[in-house]
């Protein structure tokens, strides 16, 4: 329909003529350009700062001695595994809640062995008896190699999310409990 084409041209021309004058367009463009430039510089500065921070952290980590490997929790085979108490819930004794200052000092295996960010915690003060090196299947070193990590089964996988060679990640979720059922046979 040629009529509609002509009408469209007419409408668009008329509307274009009704556009207001661009009096201060140039100053507004310069203002916006300066704002964009400032924003770009700020973003670049933040990027450089982040890169420098990461590099400094990496350099500072190089000077630290590598953390020892994970220690298998010393749980006697005859002792039933102690479930890890939820950190937020007070322990219950005889049906009554106990205040935190009289909470029994039975740490969960994950809390006793690992810190959240610092890797394994030395176990010199462990109240548990020392291990018998003659018992097969029991690790004798306090810092076994990564191949000697204990196998974990049962409900543990929700709390231990993975191992690395030096710093395993332990999440310590409140709803998780640690149950160690076997040790490596080596």
């Amino acid at each position: 329909m040629t009529d509609l084409d002509g009408l469209l041209r007419d409408v668009l021309q008329r509307q274009a003529e009704r556009t207001g004058p661009a009096t201060d367009l140039l100053s507004l463009v310069h203002q916006r350009s300066a704002r964009l430039r400032r924003r770009r510089r700020t973003a670049a500065g933040a990027t450089v700062l982040a890169a420098v921070s990461v590099a400094a952290l990496a350099v500072s980590n190089l000077g630290r001695s590598p953390a020892p490997g994970p220690v298998p929790p010393a749980v006697s085979p005859t002792t039933p595994p102690v479930p890890a108490p939820a950190p937020d819930d007070p322990p219950v004794t005889d049906g009554r809640p106990v205040s935190p200052d009289v909470r029994p000092s039975v740490p969960s295996s994950s809390e006793a062995t690992w810190s959240r960010a610092g890797g394994p915690v030395p176990r010199e003060s462990s109240p548990l008896p020392s291990r018998d090196p003659t018992v097969p299947g029991r690790p004798t070193s306090s810092s076994p190699s990564p191949d000697e990590y204990p196998k974990i089964s049962g409900t543990v996988p929700t709390s231990v999310t993975g191992y690395s060679s030096s710093k395993p990640v332990v999440t310590n979720r409140p709803d998780s409990s640690s149950t160690i059922t076997s040790y490596p046979s080596s």
């Binding site: 509609l4 009408l7 041209r9 556009t19 463009v29 916006r32």
Partner: protein, 183 residues
């Protein structure tokens, strides 16, 4: 660099603003589009200013900026400065009404279809040039234009019919008019 850029904005800023206005249908959005595009090209004006047609580059940038804006929800109400009139009177008034209706129908089109119509009927670009501006194929441009025109025609005819029905002479109901003739 700034002198060349400033001169270009002073000379062609109004034309760019008009183009953006007919493209998006909103004077304030048009100003925003033009300012945004000009501010972006400002620091690269050494390269853009040396092009054969910087204005064509800027038009393309405006169209793409307009198409990349977040889509408005079609179901929401639209704020208008003037309510579209639906009165019909003499021939001249009818033309004005028709143009107003067409302008408002244009703003109801999808953005790509509207951009195709503006580039074709306002900038007088060929389908190949429109395809180049939009980054589409020529057949896509043709189909978009065809759909847009068909929609405009159908909606215009609907509006004309409803306007005539509202303002036209009221025929007195006849005894056999409603039922199609009771026999």
């Amino acid at each position: 660099m700034d002198d060349s850029f400033d001169g270009f904005v002073v000379q062609r800023g109004q034309a760019l603003l008009r183009f953006a206005h007919v493209l998006c249908g909103d004077a304030y959005l048009a100003e925003d589009l033009v300012q945004e595009v000009l501010a972006r090209v400002h620091r690269r004006w050494n390269r853009i200013g040396g092009m054969r047609s910087p204005e064509a580059y800027l038009r393309t940038a405006i169209v793409r900026e307009y198409l990349s804006l977040r889509r408005r929800r079609a179901s929401t109400e639209r704020v208008m400065a003037q309510v579209p009139e639906t009165l019909a009177g003499s021939d001249t008034e009818g033309d004005v009404v028709l143009r107003d209706q067409l302008w408002h129908l244009l703003s109801g089109l999808p953005r790509k279809q509207r951009a195709v119509l503006v580039l074709r009927f306002y900038c007088d670009l060929s389908d190949e040039e429109i395809a180049e501006v939009l980054g589409r194929t020529r057949s896509t441009v043709r189909s978009q234009a065809s759909r847009a025109l068909a929609r405009l025609r159908s909606e215009l005819s609907v509006q004309r019919t409803s306007t005539t029905a509202c303002t036209g002479p009221q025929d007195p109901p006849t005894a056999t008019g409603r039922d199609g003739g009771a026999s």
